[in-house]
């Protein structure tokens, strides 16, 4: 896993700047208005049972308005016309909300499509010759040679070479990334551009089924399917619609019996006001917007189902390195052996690291300067001793004959024992306990040794404690997760001692030490067997089975094709910390649906108090006492309820697209707050809204 792209803050505020348009971007609104009309086609409307009923109602009222135009009084014509008009608006507003949500994705897809322009590929044949071929004619297994400046013709793995690649077309990140054959950074994506060097790519995806193609389809919502929760909610909404249909249809016989027969227009108006049009109209836009919020965070979800599952996750598997810790170890302490001054150890450690450009080396120098500000060392004429796989040590040979080395405890010991010709006494007895203690604390010990001159023996000076730093804010983050009922389990290749220490420091709920891919898989299965939903990130090919098994598997974009195929999300930033945000987006999506459903149903109470007295005002004046809002006339009351019902959809579009405010809290608190805002608010808001609209309608003299 690469540590280079990991952001320093736990919640990177990075949003793809080029797409980060405001919710009501002008070009999107424009095309959404057109789409809203196009979506009136009953063949698409019937998918949304609630709005389909409204459309049928609109057609019926319009036909009746036309039929009665000549026969009715002017007042009745205006009323029928206005009711029909606002019923159409109700449908259009709902369509508009959906088109708005889709608009952002479409704009993004258009940008992506440009990069998918037809390219030609240089295919290397089995005899070694290279022939040109259209990228659309590529087959899986073809070997393509791509040189600097060329666009990679299709998805694949690098089999030869190393190159810098500009992946901005997909990730929005302008800094080039390095891709090389072998290992976990071999995957390249079609449509990205090679900036330097030459690579050979083995094509792994058929043209038309590449990552870019899938990405376009996803952001565009071309094959959007209803998610399980959406289906369940649609069933409930359809059920409520049926009940209200029943209530309204049976009302007419009761009205006839009571000598107050109703016009069909009024009954349709009542029906439309009662059925849950607010949530019915916004349901699909909430889902699309949820996917879009992930795209804004540079995460591609392969299905809406995955986004929803993210909200349900109860166990997060997080890799230690790069996710919980920086992955780069930092010097934390100099621990000298008994007869050595700490200052001398620090000075020697600094000298040994002067030429060491790794983060560890730099941090040793920095710590030594901070703690002891030793005199600058004249490294003129000094010889750098680089780290090699054989010695597993590095250091410096100074011109005055002094040699300084640092390295892993066991290799240093072996080195001294050999160099000092079996003089075991030169390795102090207390070294081993120090080394063990440091390991137990979750840190890495580096032993520093020096040799004052050619005739002097090697001496052990002490140990530098290198600590893998837990990222700031992780503990708070995990506390929040816990309050939301999510357990975090740290996965690490460290030994159990080290793992326990870091787990303790980071505040995770559990850890899996010395983890092999099989262990990881077993852990996921165990968690799932006890009813948990598991989310994890991964990038390597050996992560693929676990990614596929997890309920939410987020593959890093830098990872292998196998990993990307196996997961149900891809993080284009390759930032494993983002798993936490993905969970939040999933939760927010469900919360928005639930809140608007509650709001929509609660709204009905006020609508009854507007419409029922209005319907029977002439025939049964006693019922006017139910006109608690004191609406000015029966017609204005019904019209105001219909207008409110339509306008509330538009008013809630921003909320549907942005999602309700998310806070990491226990479910009980979230419920209380949302119930208060959307339940009680939904009860009260329409009383005020309908009254205001009635005042305006009356003032305009529309009745």
């Amino acid at each position: 896993m690469t540590a280079t792209i990991i952001s320093e803050t736990p919640r990177p505020p990075k949003v793809r700047t080029k797409e980060s348009t405001s919710i009501f971007d002008r070009s999107i609104v424009g095309s959404a208005l057109v789409d809203a009309l196009r979506k009136l086609d009953p063949r698409t409307m019937y998918r949304n049972p609630v709005m389909f009923i409204v459309e049928i109602g609109s057609i019926l009222t319009t036909l009746m308005f036309i039929r009665d135009f000549g026969d009715s009084s002017n007042q009745e014509n205006v009323f029928a016309g206005l009711v029909s008009l606002w019923l159409w608006f109700t449908v259009l507003f709902a369509n508009f909300a959906e088109a708005m949500a889709e608009g952002r994705g479409k704009a993004q897809a258009a940008t992506l499509r440009k990069t998918r322009a037809e390219t030609s590929a240089n295919v290397r044949l089995s005899d070694g010759t290279v022939s040109e071929k259209a990228s659309s004619a590529l087959q899986v297994g073809d070997l393509c040679v791509v040189t600097a400046g060329e666009v990679i013709p299709g998805d694949g793995d690098i089999v030869e070479g190393i190159a810098t690649v500009d992946e901005s077309a997909i990730t929005g990140e302008s800094a080039p990334v390095i891709r090389e054959s072998g290992g976990d950074r071999s995957a390249v994506t079609g449509g990205t551009r090679v900036l330097s060097d030459e690579i050979v790519v083995r094509i792994t995806a058929k043209p038309g089924e590449t990552f870019l193609d899938r990405m376009i389809a996803l952001v565009e919502g071309a094959d959007r399917q209803k998610t399980p929760n959406e289906i369940a909610l649609t069933i409930l909404l359809a059920g409520l619609t049926m009940i209200f249909l029943l209530a309204v249809v049976t009302l007419q016989p009761f009205a006839i019996y009571s000598g107050a027969e109703q016009s069909v227009i009024v009954l349709i108006a009542l029906l439309v006001c009662l059925i849950p049009t607010t949530i019915g109209g916004l349901l699909s836009s909430i889902g699309i917007a949820g996917m879009d919020r992930l795209v804004q965070r540079n995460v591609l979800a392969m299905s809406g189902r995955a986004v929803e599952a993210a909200g349900d996750v109860t166990t997060l598997l997080l890799d230690k390195t790069g996710t919980i810790t920086y992955g780069s170890r930092q010097a934390a302490e100099f621990i000298p052996v008994h007869d050595i001054e700490q200052r001398r150890l620090a000075e020697a450690a600094m000298v040994s690291s002067l030429a060491d450009e790794t983060p560890e080396g730099r941090s040793i120098v920095q710590l030594a300067i901070e703690q002891f500000s030793p005199a600058p060392v004249d490294d003129q004429g000094a010889t750098l001793v680089p780290f090699t796989a054989q010695t597993r040590m590095s250091g410096m040979d100074l011109p005055n004959g002094r040699l300084v080395r640092k390295g892993a405890a066991d290799s240093v010991r072996r080195f001294i024992e050999v160099s000092n010709e079996g003089d075991y006494a030169s390795v102090p007895l207390e070294l081993l306990p120090i080394v063990e203690q440091v390991s137990r604390d979750g840190a890495t010990p580096l032993v520093v040794i020096d040799k004052a001159g050619a005739d002097e023996p090697w001496r052990v000076l002490g140990v530098v404690r290198l600590k893998d730093t837990v990222k700031p804010g992780m503990r708070e983050r995990f506390d929040q997760m816990r309050s939301m009922g999510i357990r975090t389990i740290m996965i690490t290749g460290d030994n159990p001692l080290t793992a326990a220490a870091i787990a303790e420091e980071a505040g995770v709920d559990g850890f899996l030490a010395e983890a092999t891919p099989e262990d990881k898989m077993a852990l996921i299965k165990r968690e799932q067997a006890s009813g948990n939903l598991v989310a994890m990130t991964g990038d390597g090919t050996n992560d693929a089975p676990a990614l596929a098994q997890a309920d939410v598997g987020v593959a890093m974009n830098t990872g292998t094709q196998a990993a990307k195929e196996a997961g149900n999300m891809v993080d284009l930033d390759s930032n494993p910390t983002k798993l936490i945000e993905i969970v939040e987006v999933g939760k927010q999506l469900l919360m928005t649906r639930g809140s608007l459903t509650t709001f929509s149903i609660a709204n009905d109470v006020a609508k009854y108090f507007a419409i029922i007295p209005a319907m029977f005002a002439t025939a049964l004046p006693e019922l006017d006492r139910l006109n608690v809002m004191n609406l000015s006339s029966p017609r204005s009351a019904i019209l105001s309820a219909v207008i409110f019902n339509a306008l509330i959809i538009v008013a809630l579009v921003p909320l549907a697209l942005r999602g309700v405010k998310f806070r990491a809290e226990a479910a009980a608190l979230v419920l209380r707050r949302n119930l208060l805002i959307y339940g009680l608010g939904g009860l009260i808001a329409p009383f005020i809204g309908i009254k205001l609209i009635d005042i305006i309608v009356t003032a305009l003299g529309a009745n």
Binding site: N229, G239, I243, T314, S483, G485, N674
Partner: protein, 582 residues
């Protein structure tokens, strides 16, 4: 309200508080709450059960899937309907018919057979002049027991669905039925019948007893009517039928006047006792539920929801009836409570109960699915009459019929969980089980069944009933609405002015009772089957708690909003209009 009424209400609360926890615990053990499956009284009951199983050929260890369970119940109900139909038709030639009642008409028998098998106990006829003792004992009373037991076992199956994981089996219908009858309903009824007899409730097999009347003046001296010198007093096995009538929330009276009749409900003590008996098992069932799902707070919350609704409706009915009719007050009638009179609206009420105790009875009989009455609901004030009507329209969940009431409450809880669960950002869960599309389909079916069985037939009736068997105006609409609310909730109480013995009503109300019973029971069983197969999601702080007051509040809100939105238009033209016209 009189202090007596308040004392009676408080006494009722005390009696329930003293008995419900114990019966609930006992019932939980009967339904397998103990780890070893034992239950109190095994030494006596177990051999009896084994004998019954042997005779009936029941394999007690064989479990059933939800659909087999449902089929068993349907088959049992069908046989029951046919048997009861035959008894009604043939009672004229059968024994225990001291008053020589002839067989009942085909449509009437159809209606009554369905009525008793569905635990409705809607009676289009007058018991003492239409039904033989045999019909009462071997027909109606038997169904009082088994229909109550059937309502209870389906909820046990649902509870098993909640507690079990990774299975399709919900238990064995026949075993559950036998255990419910043998260990719960029969012993309780036996004791209760004896207590009722001690208070003067009749229990014999006699026909009419002729009594010479003391006052022998003509009924109407102005007309040339003959004086009544002799009165025929009908006897019968009343106490035994009364006991299960209340305990099994059946409600079918031996006499037409039901619990207003002094042979049935002789005094204020029996009145409270009968209300207690109606509420006993429904509330205890929730206690048992809490124990069976190993979350007693969950049970407590649902009890609180039921009790809150019941108290609200009881209080409202008691106040409305004590208030009386404002129209009478303006015309100079004294309706105030004083030493010499109970005050309030006394039309259609027994002087030994008074308006408040009648209102309390009315709320209890409609909150459960009993349908017994101790006063004529048709004579209530508009708001007083609205109370029992709306109470039924809530779906009878406060606390509802034995078993089925808890079933309805759990369905409403699922609905609340679904809406609220989304609000906290998780796929909704109830007691560890995810509530998804298959459950929502069934919940919607359940919620739709009752309004459909109520509104369509009521609407058709006001259009089609050319004979207008109901009164004119808003009150007539109330009568039609009430009577279909009663059958569509398997309640059985009536707004009794309306003559529902016509072909139209016996047929439509029979169908409405069938729909109400089986379109709710089958979804409940299917939900159980669907939940049993699911794994249990461990509860975390991210799980929406369903055992808190907040959730209880939410369930009350969902029940009120669903019923309110469905029935407000119809009610506004019935009792609400009538009230506003006073």
């Amino acid at each position: 309200m009189s202090w007596q009424a308040i004392v009676q209400a408080l006494a009722l609360v005390g009696m329930l508080a003293a008995t419900v926890p114990f019966l609930g615990r006992y019932m939980a053990d009967v339904y397998g709450a103990r780890a070893d499956g034992s239950a109190p009284g095994d030494r006596f009951f177990a051999p009896v059960e084994r004998t019954v199983y042997r005779i009936c050929g029941i394999d007690a260890r064989r479990e059933q899937r939800w659909n087999v369970y449902a089929t068993s119940l349907l088959a049992f109900s069908l046989v029951s309907v046919l048997l009861l139909y035959a008894i009604f038709r043939l009672q004229g030639v059968l024994p225990f018919n001291p008053t020589d009642r002839p067989g009942v008409s085909a449509m009437g028998s159809f209606n009554s057979a369905i009525s008793f098998v569905t635990n409705t106990n809607w009676q289009w006829y007058s018991g003492e002049i239409s039904i033989s003792h045999l019909t009462n004992m071997f027909g109606n009373s038997v169904q009082n027991f088994v229909s109550a037991a059937a309502g209870m076992v389906i909820v046990i199956a649902l509870i098993r669905g909640i507690t079990r994981t990774g299975t399709r089996d919900l238990g064995n219908f026949w075993v559950d039925l036998v255990r419910t009858l043998l260990r719960i309903l029969l012993p309780l009824s036996l004791v209760f019948a004896v207590v009722l007899m001690s208070q003067g409730v009749v229990q014999n097999l006699s026909g009419y007893t002729a009594a010479v009347t003391i006052d022998q003046t003509p009924v109407d001296p102005s007309e040339d009517s003959t004086a009544i010198t002799e009165q025929l007093i009908p006897g019968g096995p009343v106490a035994s039928q009364e006991a299960i009538k209340e305990l099994g929330t059946n409600g079918g009276g031996f006499y037409n006047a039901n619990s207003a009749h002094p042979f049935t409900n002789p005094n204020g003590f029996t009145n409270i006792l009968q209300i207690w008996a109606m509420l006993l098992i429904p509330f205890s069932f929730v206690v048992a539920f809490g124990r069976l799902v190993r979350d007693r707070n969950q049970g407590r919350v649902l009890i609180a929801v039921m009790a809150t609704i019941l108290v609200l409706f009881s209080g409202f009915a008691m106040l409305a009836e004590q208030q009386g009719n404002p129209g009478l007050t303006t015309r100079g009638a004294d309706q105030s409570l004083s030493v010499s009179q109970s005050g309030g609206n006394m039309e259609g009420k027994e002087t030994r109960f008074g308006p408040a105790a009648s209102g309390l009875f009315a709320a209890a009989t409609t909150g459960t699915s009993t349908g017994a009455v101790n006063s004529m609901h048709d004579s209530y004030t508009p708001l007083g009459g609205l109370t029992p009507m709306l109470h039924m329209m809530l779906g009878e969940v406060s606390p509802g019929g034995v078993g089925v009431g808890l079933g309805g409450m759990l369905v409403m809880a699922l609905l609340a969980v679904f809406i609220a669960g989304l609000m906290v950002g998780r796929t909704p869960e109830f007691l560890g089980k995810k509530i998804q599309a298959p459950e929502m389909k069934l919940v919607v079916l359940y919620v739709f069944a009752m309004p459909f069985a109520l509104l369509t037939f009521a609407a058709a009736s006001v259009l089609i009933d050319s004979a207008a068997t109901f009164q004119p105006g808003a009150h007539g609409l109330s009568e039609v609405l009430y009577n279909f609310a009663s059958t569509a909730n398997n309640n059985g109480s009536a707004f009794a002015y309306q003559n529902t013995g016509t072909q139209w009503y016996t047929t439509t109300q029979g169908i409405s009772m069938l729909m109400a019973r089986f379109f709710t029971i089958i979804p409940v069983l299917a939900i159980g089957g669907s939940l049993a197969a699911k794994p249990k999601v461990p509860a975390t702080s991210g799980t929406m708690p369903t055992n808190t007051p907040l959730f209880g509040f939410l369930v009350v809100g969902v029940i009120a909003i669903v019923a309110g939105l469905t029935f407000f238009p119809a009610l506004s033209l019935g009792p609400i209009l009538e009230h506003l016209s006073l």
